[in-house]
Symmetry: C2
Subunit: 255 residues, 2 copies
């Protein structure tokens, strides 16, 4: 029997934990040596109520990949959670391949990349290797911060002089490359729903920008997000579980 891929695995963990939350584990500690313990402790507190964990430079830079980060990944897996490495990878093929191999080696289930870098001599070997190994690739389509508009929202003139937005071009790439997910900010609901309607049933939509960045969880789900990426509003709360439960209550389960 073929092993389930990343998309199926995260849907399963979402169902079994009744949550669409991808926790952005962006821990900031007073002292660097506290980072690992705080990360593990937060995970133990919330693991039954989230679907996945996203790890970025907050932990990838100060912690050691093959000892500390591996502990976080193993604990996540023990709790039935998927793990996503968020480097917004956008290098040439040889570097992308080395980087992603280190991330797969340590157990990550999916990697986030920036499609601007392109396929040939860019992300191609990462997409292929990910799928060989039943791991996932998630592409940025439209980010959640203010100046996303100045980059992802640019108008480009394609061959045949057809006008389209950069995020529409990135979505075409995501479809052609058969990736597993796209990132679309929850702050611009028109763009979110336009993208979600195009990729529905084919590619999962991960939406950052709720909470600290102002997006509304239930509106993001209504607009078509499959998962919400939430960090600061959970991590900075004195009662992370109440924030999580509040989000889980209004977002409902995946179909």
């Amino acid at each position: 029997m073929k092993e389930k891929g990343f998309a199926d695995r995260i849907k399963l963990s979402s169902k079994s934990h009744s949550s669409r939350i991808v926790l952005a584990l962006d821990i900031i500690a007073q002292k660097r040596y506290q980072l690992l313990d705080q990360a593990l402790s937060m995970l133990n507190t919330v693991s039954q109520y989230i679907a996945a964990v996203k790890i970025n430079y907050h932990l990838l830079l100060p912690l050691s990949l093959f000892t500390d980060i591996k502990k976080i990944i193993n604990l996540s897996h023990d709790h039935g959670l998927q793990t996503i490495a968020d480097l917004k990878l956008n290098d040439i093929a040889s570097t992308n391949l080395i980087a992603s191999n280190y991330l797969w080696d340590v157990g990550f289930d999916a990697i986030i990349a920036n499609p601007l870098v392109g396929y040939e001599e860019g992300l191609e070997p990462v997409v292929k290797k990910a799928h060989e190994m039943n791991r996932g690739l998630i592409l940025l389509a439209y980010m959640s911060h203010k100046s996303a508009r100045e980059g992802y929202g640019l108008t480009i003139l394609s061959e045949g002089l057809r006008q389209e937005k950069v995020y529409e071009f990135f979505i075409r790439r995501a479809m052609e490359w058969r990736v597993d997910g796209v990132i679309v900010g929850a702050n611009d609901l028109d763009i979110l729903s336009s993208i979600a309607s195009k990729v529905k049933g084919l590619i999962l939509v991960f939406s950052p920008g709720v909470g600290a960045q102002g997006g509304d969880p239930s509106k993001a789900i209504m607009a078509g997000a499959d998962f919400l990426i939430v960090g600061r509003s959970i991590l900075d709360s004195k009662d992370p579980l109440s924030i999580i439960n509040g989000i889980n209550r209004v977002t409902g389960l995946m179909e």
Copy 2:
């Protein structure tokens, strides 16, 4: 007296070592525990004949930042070399700031970022902090791989319906944000010379893509590159110094 900024420091190390080479220290080892020793040993071999060292995921992921990478940076500084962290950073401001602070803490002199992410809530705090600390920011403008054309070479329609290429837009950003360097591949000499002529005397041009990727060192310098980023052709050689000396001979000194 004001401390010299990154651009001045790398010009100085270039002059004193009679080299325009930024060594991409992309070490690949049979065993992970050999990485650090091989990196330090390569540095000791070539340090008198290069201007700077660029470190990317080849070392940043498997090695520990505050012990191993710090040793590489300290050895580089002992040899009078500048150090550049190449994450092609493109995250939201809060993450960019955390990531860059860790990189400055450990001693990096400059960071490479992707300008697609934009300024407000994007790279703004990194640019500002870099300059407060006399460190440098280098932006991608046109990469050296085949599909750079599909991303950096896209045509965009700016306000006022003026057409320009993505790399021209990125160069405008580099000028407005007053960054210290831009990355432009050595494989497309027309684009390289067009960009170099625009930023001459204001922003340093770093050019990857010579050697393993087919670009010609002397032609890249003739087209306006200030520095050449060279990795594999040096690292994979049985005689790295002969490759380096060959490049230094044909590229001459900075004015």
